[in-house]
């Protein structure tokens, strides 16, 4: 594979709203996806992840807002542009009466791959996804996990520049999930752009950027570490002192944003940047008569990050709603 030229941002989404009758599926979503990156789209079931993917593939139209994918509006993709897009839908949509190999070959034909390249790539993706040994088995006779792999093979076979994968690892065992992510990273290294939805929130760690969607709203879009900082208000440092130490003594110490006392000798500190702040934190404790026995940066799981971001978002929205209520009540009083 060769590095592919293209626009700096493979995907640009601006203030997109999608409504189905009176239900809002996406509410003012804006984001950009840099070319050559893996963007994970996470969120609870029904949050709008699949709707976003279907918008970007041109299957759906937005109610309002603008979209640009590989420099084109998805509903008006040129044929050549479509040939550069791979799509793995959430549910199994291939042909149960065709064999594994026939299905992949069929998809490759649709995407314009000529015979010899098609044959080689079919073999490659089937071997990659552990489906080569069952290449003569009909798709309808495969297990659920194998069917997901077959769908993934269909999305990968024509070596697209931009891949939309709707829950590619659903139903796969951990070993195969790892292999799939290895392949996705390899594609990224080769300059491909990947948008991946997942319900395995910890897979966000594998992405360059993570878009978090809740109830149709994009509540966060950042690199995994930045997202963790955003959720927790900074980096977390977990430390244990040799003797009992009162965390309140650290109030006002530079670089320390928050202190949580977890035990007589255990503290969790929130700092701007764990890498640079740790020596200063140790010094601050020693200055105040303490002595640090162990110190390490705490990496909360992405489940925790996700929960914290959702909670923060709810708090922010509730506060805004309260403000709006207060404003609307105070306005008539001021007028009077």
């Amino acid at each position: 594979m060769t590095e592919q030229a293209g626009p700096r941002d493979a995907v640009i989404v601006e203030d997109v709203v999608v409504r189905f009758d009176d239900q809002v599926a996406l509410d003012g979503v804006s984001m950009t996806v840099p070319t050559g990156s893996i963007v994970g789209i996470i969120g609870p079931s029904g949050a709008g992840k699949t709707t976003l993917i279907r918008l970007l593939t041109g299957v759906l139209s937005p109610t309002s807002g603008t979209l640009s994918v590989l420099g084109e509006e998805p509903r008006r993709f040129r044929r050549e542009t479509r040939e550069g897009i791979g799509y793995m839908p959430q549910s199994f949509t291939l042909y149960p009466d065709l064999t594994v190999r026939e299905n992949v070959d069929f998809v490759a034909s649709l995407f314009g791959m000529l015979f010899f390249r098609r044959r080689r790539r079919t073999r490659e993706v089937l071997q990659l996804l552990d489906l080569w040994d069952v290449r003569r088995r009909r798709a309808g006779k495969l297990s659920g996990g194998m069917q997901r792999r077959l769908e993934l093979a269909g999305a990968l076979v024509h070596d697209p520049a931009l891949l939309f994968l709707d829950e590619p690892t659903a139903g796969l065992d951990p070993l195969l999930r790892t292999r799939v992510w290895d392949e996705l990273r390899r594609l990224r290294q080769a300059g491909r752009t990947l948008l991946v939805t997942t319900q395995h929130i910890n897979e966000s760690e594998e992405c360059d950027l993570v878009a978090m969607i809740v109830e149709g709203r994009l509540i966060a879009l950042a690199a995994p570490d930045a997202l963790r900082r955003q959720a927790m208000g900074g980096d977390l440092i977990e430390l244990e002192t040799k003797e009992r130490f009162d965390g309140m003594a650290l109030a006002g110490a530079p670089e320390i944003l928050r202190v949580r006392q977890d035990g007589p000798r255990q503290l969790t500190l929130t700092v701007e940047d764990a890498g640079t702040a740790t020596p200063g934190v140790v010094a601050a404790i020693e200055t105040r008569g303490g002595s640090v026995e162990t110190v390490r940066e705490l990496h909360p799981s992405f489940d925790d990050v996700f929960a914290a971001l959702v909670a923060n978002d709810r708090k922010t929205r509730a506060a805004r709603a309260d403000e709006a209520t207060t404003d609307s009540q105070s306005a008539p009083a001021a007028a009077a």
Binding site: R54, T57, G58, V59, L60, S61, R75, R79, E80, R82, E83, I85, Y87, P89, S91, F92, T93, L94, Y95, D97, L98, E102, D105, F106, V107, S109, L110, F111, G112, L114, F115, R138, G154
Partner: protein, 397 residues
């Protein structure tokens, strides 16, 4: 150039995929290949095209002067009625009618000769018990024939008696004309200008073939497309660089191949197995069948586009089959329908298919060349409608 190559490749991919899917479904394969054979074989073996003679009981009132032997009546009745018995008691005969063992009761007048000599008309009463209007008409027709035959017999006998009297009086000239000629001065002689003798199987075989081909084409392509729409494969088509027109052309080519193969096998059976002649040019026959299939596939695609489920597609296909049986001229002549209904008949590919295949096989050619045009028109309209519908369906979401 590459665009053309990839387009051809996409079409071939769809054709190949459709063929594989059909072959991989053993049930579908059996019904596709053997179904028409079995239907045709059963039709050929089981349908003679001749009506069973109606079981008839003649009631001759007691003391009547007319014959009481069944053979006399059988001679008059011809082959349409089987005179099972001659009885004196009408109640006995009516019991048989009620029980279903008798189809027709013929109650003769007590003394028709005396009535004739007295210048009075006698009535032959014919009793049937049926709710089938066609059967009732047939019985009425046979009764009229019987009445004519009896009348002819009476006139013949009267002429014989008259000529006997004339001869006795020495008027030999009056006896020159045979009594049978006096009773029936004319008789019809039918000459059929068609190049083949009408045979029920030869006539209906091509019609059954046309009906089977239309039904298979509609059902198969409709189910194939509806399945793709309901299973979500259409979402792949929406994203892939394939157009609605390519999907349609690929499917049509695949099912033209399958339909053509089935047609070839079935025609071979008709010719070799049932001795139905193929007097016309095989190329003309192939063209007629190809157009019949194309128009039927167009209708099948329209069915698929407007159906939300496989069940609905099957229901619509069966409704079309039913309409085809009634309105295509298969059972009832199209000329017997009112004008607006004839338009419906001509909108069905099978109507034209039956006529063309029958003409080419049994007459050697057709004078109804417009039927080719009609098939092309149906194909053009339905394929365009299906293309527009599928294009809208692939774009809409």
């Amino acid at each position: 150039m590459r665009g053309l190559v990839t387009m051809v490749q996409r079409l071939l991919a769809i054709v190949g995929k459709e063929l594989i899917e059909v072959i991989r479904r053993p049930g579908a394969l059996v019904s596709l290949v053997f179904g028409p054979f079995i239907i045709m074989a059963l039709f050929g073996a089981g349908y003679g095209g001749f009506r069973r003679p109606l079981e008839t009981v003649v009631v001759v009132p007691p003391g009547s002067s007319i014959p009481t032997d069944a053979a006399s009546y059988q001679k008059l009745a011809g082959t349409g009625l089987h005179i099972a018995a001659v009885v004196q008691d009408a109640a006995t005969a009516e019991a048989g009618l009620a029980a279903g063992t008798t189809d027709v009761i013929v109650i003769t007048p007590a003394d028709p000769a005396a009535s004739f000599k007295a210048g009075q008309q006698s009535v032959i009463e014919v009793v049937v018990d049926t709710i089938d209007p066609i059967r009732a008409d047939y019985a009425n027709y046979l009764a009229s024939n019987l009445s004519s035959a009896v009348n002819q017999a009476i006139i013949t006998r009267a002429v014989e008696e008259g000529q006997g009297i004339a001869l006795a009086d020495g008027q030999t000239a009056a006896a020159k004309i045979p009594p049978e000629v006096v009773a029936a001065p004319t008789k019809a002689s039918l000459r059929n200008a068609a190049p083949t003798e009408p045979r029920v199987l030869a006539y209906y075989g091509p019609a059954v073939l046309a009906l089977i081909l239309q039904h298979l084409a509609i059902t198969l392509i409709a189910l194939a497309l509806v399945r793709e729409r309901t299973s979500g494969v259409i979402e792949l088509f929406r994203v892939a660089p394939i157009k609605a027109g390519e999907v349609i052309v690929g499917k049509v080519l695949a099912y033209l191949l399958i339909g053509g193969l089935i047609a070839a096998l079935t025609i071979t059976l008709l010719i070799v197995g049932f001795g139905i002649p193929l007097l016309g040019d095989p190329v003309s026959l192939a063209a007629a069948i190809a157009l019949l299939l194309l128009a039927s596939l167009g209708i099948g695609l329209v069915v698929a586009v407007i159906s939300d489920s496989e069940r609905q597609a099957v229901q619509l296909s069966l409704l079309l089959l039913l309409a085809s049986v009634f309105f295509s001229g298969f059972v009832v002549a199209i000329s017997e329908f009112a004008e607006p209904i004839r338009i419906l008949a001509y909108a069905l590919p099978v109507t034209h298919g039956i006529r063309l295949i029958q003409d080419i096989m049994l007459r050697g050619s057709t004078t109804q060349l417009w039927e080719y045009g009609a098939l092309m028109l149906i194909a053009g309209v339905t394929l365009t409608a299906a293309w527009l519908g599928l294009r809208r369906g692939m774009a809409r979401a």
